[in-house]
C-alpha cells in the first residue's frame, strides 16, 4: 500500500499541470483571463445594444455567473479524462488512484483564483466593495468542490470502462449553460421550477455567489442546505463507484 505525503504529492501534481500548460506560452496566464474577458465584452455588447437588459451591474453579473460555470465545466471535463490522460501513472506507478481526478479539479482551482481577480476588479469598477459576507464564499465554494469531487470520481472511473462518458459530460455541460442563470435572472424562472432549479448545484453556486457579491447578503439557508445535500450525496456515490471500478483500471487502460 502507498504510504506517503498526500499533500506534497497533490501539490506537486497540480504544479506540474500548471507549469506544463503555461511554460511554453508567450503570454502565460494571460490566457486564463482572456476567455472570460471576451465573453464579458460580447455579452455586454449583446445585452446593452441588441437586447437591452435591465440587470444592474451587468458586467459583474455576467462574470459572477460565467467564471463559476467555466470552472465547473473545465474541472469536471478535465477530471473525467484525467485517468486516461495519466494512463502512464496508473499502469506503472503505485500511487493512490483517487489523487488523479482530485488533482485535475484542484488544477482548475488555480485558474479560478486567477479569474477571481477579474471579479474583484469588476466589483470595484461597479462601485461596490468587499463586504463582511464574503467569508460565505469559502463555504459556498467548499461545498461546490465536494460536489465536483464526487461527480468527477464517478465519471473519471466510468470513462475508463466506457469511453463515451466524456461526450456525455460535454453534452451535459452544454445543457447546463442554459440551466444556469448566467445572462438571465433567477426571477425569470417560472415559479413551478424555482424549487427544483436550486437543486442544480451549479445554479446554486452562481445564485449564492451573487447574493454575497452583488446584494451584500448571506446566501439563503434553504439554498445552502440544498447545495450541501447534493454535494454530500455526490461525494458518497462517486467515491463508491470509484472504489468499485478501481481494480479494473490496470486492465482497461
Amino acid at each position: 500500500m502507498w504510504k506517503g505525503d498526500y499533500s506534497f504529492l497533490i501539490r506537486q501534481l497540480v504544479i506540474k499541470d500548471f507549469k506544463i500548460r503555461y511554460r511554453n506560452m508567450s503570454l502565460g496566464i494571460f490566457w486564463a483571463l482572456l476567455n472570460p474577458l471576451i465573453m464579458v465584452v460580447l455579452f455586454s455588447f449583446i445585452f446593452k445594444q441588441v437586447f437591452p437588459s435591465s440587470i444592474p451591474h451587468f458586467s459583474l453579473y455576467i462574470l459572477s455567473g460565467l467564471i463559476p460555470f467555466n470552472f465547473f465545466t473545465a474541472a469536471w471535463l478535465g477530471a473525467t479524462t484525467s485517468l486516461m490522460d495519466n494512463a502512464g501513472l496508473i499502469k506503472k506507478v503505485p500511487v493512490p488512484r483517487e489523487v488523479i481526478p482530485v488533482t485535475a479539479v484542484l488544477g482548475n482551482l488555480v485558474h479560478l483564483g486567477i479569474q477571481f481577480l477579474l471579479i474583484l476588479a469588476a466589483v470595484f469598477y461597479e462601485g461596490l466593495s468587499v463586504n463582511f459576507h464574503w467569508p460565505w464564499l469559502i463555504v459556498i465554494w467548499g461545498l461546490e468542490l465536494v460536489f465536483i469531487f464526487g461527480i468527477s470520481l464517478a465519471t473519471s472511473s466510468l470513462n475508463v470502462l466506457v469511453r463515451d462518458i466524456r461526450y456525455v459530460v460535454e453534452s451535459i455541460n452544454l445543457i447546463l449553460f442554459w440551466l444556469v442563470p448566467i445572462f438571465y435572472t433567477f426571477d425569470m424562472i417560472p415559479m413551478a421550477y424555482k424549487d427544483l432549479y436550486q437543486y442544480n448545484p451549479v445554479a446554486a453556486l452562481v445564485l449564492a455567489t451573487r447574493k454575497v457579491i452583488l446584494d451584500g447578503q448571506a446566501p439563503p439557508l434553504n439554498l445552502m442546505l440544498k447545495l450541501a445535500s447534493v454535494a454530500i450525496v455526490s461525494l458518497l456515490v462517486g467515491e463508491s463507484i470509484f472504489r468499485h471500478l478501481k481494480p479494473r483500471f490496470y486492465r482497461y487502460l
Binding site: 500500500m1 502507498w2 504510504k3 506517503g4 505525503d5 506534497f8 504529492l9 501539490r11 506537486q12 501534481l13 504544479i15 506540474k16 507549469k19 506544463i20 511554460r23 511554453n24 502512464g88 501513472l89 496508473i90 499502469k91 506503472k92 506507478v93 503505485p94 500511487v95 470502462l161 466506457v162 469511453r163 463515451d164 468499485h244 471500478l245 481494480p247 479494473r248 490496470y250 486492465r251 482497461y252
Partner: protein, 277 residues
Amino acid sequence: MSIISLENVSIIFRQRRDRMLLLDHLREVVRKMPQDGFYALHDVGFKVERGESVGIIGANGAGKSTLLSLLAGLVPPDKGAVRVEGRVGALLELCSGFHPDLTGRENLLMNAALLGLDEKTARERSQSIIDFSELAPFIDEPLRTYSSGMYLRLGFSVAIHAEIDILLIDEILTVGDLAFQKKCFDHILGLRKAAKTLVCVSHVPGVLEQLCDRLVWLHHGQLIRDGEFDRVSADYLAFMADPNRHFGDEIPQAPRQVVPVKEKEPHARVVPRRRRR
C-alpha cells in the same frame, strides 16, 4: 515473517479484441459470463524474505512484468492471495512518472512525491540525488533533452533515496553505461546489507548475476523453477537454447486458457445490479 508472499496467485487477461463498449459491459453483467481469456499468471506461489534479492527470468510473455505490477499493487489478483509488507518503490518503465516538459529538478521532486517522500525530506535529499545521478550540469534542462541513460540515472537515484523497503526493477538497468551500472550494483549490494529487499526482472540471467542469489523462472505465466541462481540459470539457458530436447513435457507450450465456467470470480463482485439492492 516473509516480506512478500504469494499464494496460488492467478491473473487473467481478457481477450476482448479491443471491444469495451457499453453493450459488452452490459452483456458481461447480465450473463455473468467471463469472456475468453488466458492466464497471465497461473497458480504462482513463492515467498521472499526481508533482505533477499530475487531475480525473475523468463522469455517474452512469461508474465514477468505482470508479476512486478502485482507486487507493486497496480493490479489485483483474480485468484489467490498476495501479501506485501512495507513500502514499495517500483522502477517499471524508464519514463514512468516523468514529464518531458519539466526540468530534471522538477521531475526529481515530483518523483520523490510519487514515491511517498514528504516535502522536507525530498528537498533535503535533492542535492544528494543529483550527486548520485551525476546529472548536475543538465538538472535544470527539460527532460525531453535527456537520453535514456540519463532518464535511468535520475529515476534510479530518486528511488534509492526514498524510504522504501522493497525495490522492484523491470529490465531497465541495462540502459545505463557500465560505470553507472557498477555504481547501481554497488548501491544495491549496500541496500541488501541494510536488509532491503530487491526484486529484479530480466530475460537475460547475466544481468542479474551480480545482484541476485535466487532466481524465479516463469514461462507462459507458470512458475517453472525457483531456487539457487546458478542452477535455475543453467536450466533456463539450456531450455532457451533448445526448447524441445530438455524440457519437452514439463513446460507449457502456450498460456493456459480460461475455460468459461460459471464460477464467481473476485471481480464479478463488481456487478452493479447486485450492489444496488
